[in-house]
Symmetry: D2
Subunit: 240 residues, 4 copies
Amino acid sequence: MIRVTVWNEGRHEKSNEEIGKLYPEGMHGAIAKHLKTQDDMEVCTATLDEPDHGLTDEVLNNTDVMTWWGHMAHHEVKDEIVEKLYNRVLDGMGLICMHSAHFSKIFRKLMGTTCNLKWREIGEKERLWVVEPGHPIAEGIGEYIELENTEMYGERFDIPEPDTLVFVSWFQGGEVFRSGCCYHRNKGKIFYFRPGHETYPIYYNEEVLKVIVNAIRWAAPVNGPKIEFGNKQPLENISE
Amino acid sequence: MIRVTVWNEGRHEKSNEEIGKLYPEGMHGAIAKHLKTQDDMEVCTATLDEPDHGLTDEVLNNTDVMTWWGHMAHHEVKDEIVEKLYNRVLDGMGLICMHSAHFSKIFRKLMGTTCNLKWREIGEKERLWVVEPGHPIAEGIGEYIELENTEMYGERFDIPEPDTLVFVSWFQGGEVFRSGCCYHRNKGKIFYFRPGHETYPIYYNEEVLKVIVNAIRWAAPVNGPKIEFGNKQPLENISE
Amino acid sequence: MIRVTVWNEGRHEKSNEEIGKLYPEGMHGAIAKHLKTQDDMEVCTATLDEPDHGLTDEVLNNTDVMTWWGHMAHHEVKDEIVEKLYNRVLDGMGLICMHSAHFSKIFRKLMGTTCNLKWREIGEKERLWVVEPGHPIAEGIGEYIELENTEMYGERFDIPEPDTLVFVSWFQGGEVFRSGCCYHRNKGKIFYFRPGHETYPIYYNEEVLKVIVNAIRWAAPVNGPKIEFGNKQPLENISE
Amino acid sequence: MIRVTVWNEGRHEKSNEEIGKLYPEGMHGAIAKHLKTQDDMEVCTATLDEPDHGLTDEVLNNTDVMTWWGHMAHHEVKDEIVEKLYNRVLDGMGLICMHSAHFSKIFRKLMGTTCNLKWREIGEKERLWVVEPGHPIAEGIGEYIELENTEMYGERFDIPEPDTLVFVSWFQGGEVFRSGCCYHRNKGKIFYFRPGHETYPIYYNEEVLKVIVNAIRWAAPVNGPKIEFGNKQPLENISE
């Protein structure tokens, strides 16, 4: 079983009536509901306004993969929680950063860049093309995913070159975007996935949900080597 | 179930008495025996001297992942079979090339380079260090795999930069080698794994076998997009 | 000085009156004319219908970087010449493959894939976005290059993941394309650059020409290590 | 001209008599002296104990490439200076991090990982093998660089997968290390180069100095696109 924690800022749903209607149980609720239909996942949620943002040590230590959505309150996420998240990722916890989470503290810290980009909110069309069709995150997806109305995110996207680039987006207004990006950071795996604007029903889209499911499976921890850093005796006999 | 075909040249075992004793059922036999202990694998074998090298269309079309070992008779593998293998890989079949298979026709064709290297047969020590500890091929492996006696393969190894580098080898005689290399080629995934010299009991080593099992799972086909190449109508209405 | 050979199939210019008017000295003539304005380049041209396609051993051995344009007659390029080109690239000669050269024998051989793609000829707009702004091939280029009328090439483009991806194209009809791709193949560097359809005045576009100049400088040979493959004595004293 | 600033912590040379004798003008002095012999470089130095660590805005704004050596006092580098360095790199300044600079604040911030590793100080032998022989940083270098006595740095080295891996080191005591690593971070280029322990005459080694010169040229800024982030009008006319 993959233990998934769906994290959401959860503010837009409260402060904006329309978004509240679209996601009555929050975006986290919509995502978690779908993930719970998967036989190999145990799912819980956490949000910004809970104590410790819902991310106690117990939650963190029992999370295999976390999905992250944030936008208007990135700065309210406490640095000490970000530090714990960071250490958990380096120790193997998978992290799926969605949409405006490109600007979250945790994503920026793991990338080492500003993660800045171009954007526009006029509800234009996006088409996410699969450019690495043998990758497990493309499982069950067609040649592209089409979103009729969405926010635009455009290049230059200030990220390190992805270890693997799975999706590239086309936007009606004339831009492109690297919209599905895989990274290894020590033992942890990170996937950035672009879709997810709060005013469109993106997290009810079946293909978007399928990508999130695939990404969680891909990012699940591996029982890899126990790494020892520091001063080490030689493994070979060294004599002059 | 992952349908695995273990392919072996199978000549050394017949022509060299010592190797024949070490691998009475061939290296393919030793590898297949281990793979058959895995619940998620259906395993068959094929060798050079069978008709069509054991690789009929039926076998090829029912193989999800092929492991490949060849050395002294690369040139005897028929070009038409190589062409079929090549198409199967591009269409999603996984391929695990082991040891001297670096010089196989199929690996060179997929790499686009000579795949040449340095080598030496004095039975020295090799230590394969894991450099990407979150990768599924490192599952269950320690910080390194040590092989007490083996052939040396050394850099410069003329391959394209791997999509992911999982192992780097240290050799007693002074060389290093990129010894676990992942590649995507269209829908197919390829893993090159260095160990496997025929005169040492490499394919009885538990960690080596574990890596092969991991690599097969990683390389198993994904139900990705059905790709259409060629002349296409526009997806958008274009008017001046 | 970088010794550049501009290679062109040179058939369209002869068989199609309109193209002949657009490029009275051939596309190779237009490209070569621009390259000759660069202080650090010595430029010659070669075409398919010359003896040995203009690629004698003397020409090949005195070429640092070759640019390649072909389309309707890829199959007429003699295999023995392709073999020589291939060896020259692996030995350090840079290669700039443009537009329909994605299907040239030499590019496919170096890539190890089919290099197939989607295409459409309705003269739509292309916008090539820079996604790696610190790369020398982006020198002097704006955030994107816009081509008002061009052929469309769309993903899935069946190439290995580029070592570095410099440009991603947007097309009016709804597709995206990895349109500026860098590869190392042994000592040689290869750049694939998408623009160049024969019926549009692409090779008079200043930014396109600037990219070609930049790519030639990037792909110029480096005086790297003299590589020795094969059986080697140990560098260290091995005793048990 | 490439304007190079050679930065050094400069403490070991003062606190340790032996190191002081080895590098009477500091390691920065030895490196700068060599760089000044290059026709295309203008060289200055800066050290920790100068005001602002010698890195005033004027120095930073007039530096094309900075080389960085630090060890015992990483924590004394002021965060505000690190922030300025970081912004300069993202804006195009090249950065060459050497040896124990793997643990510098600036390198860790740019990598997004701990940059931890194994180490040992017994003066063993290192051999740095070139694995990407067509890369400009390998210009003029043989198949490997041999350092008779040095500190060991061993894998697992907790860095993101390099954009390009140029060197892999062999150590006498049994370890390997990715010892020459290239990264792009927005418009800036970063090279990590392993050699440089303070008690050995590493910065008098001609091949080590050649690599540093090559790396500076590779990392020099490119006049790439002026990037605009933020809210953008559509480039195409969007009508329903």
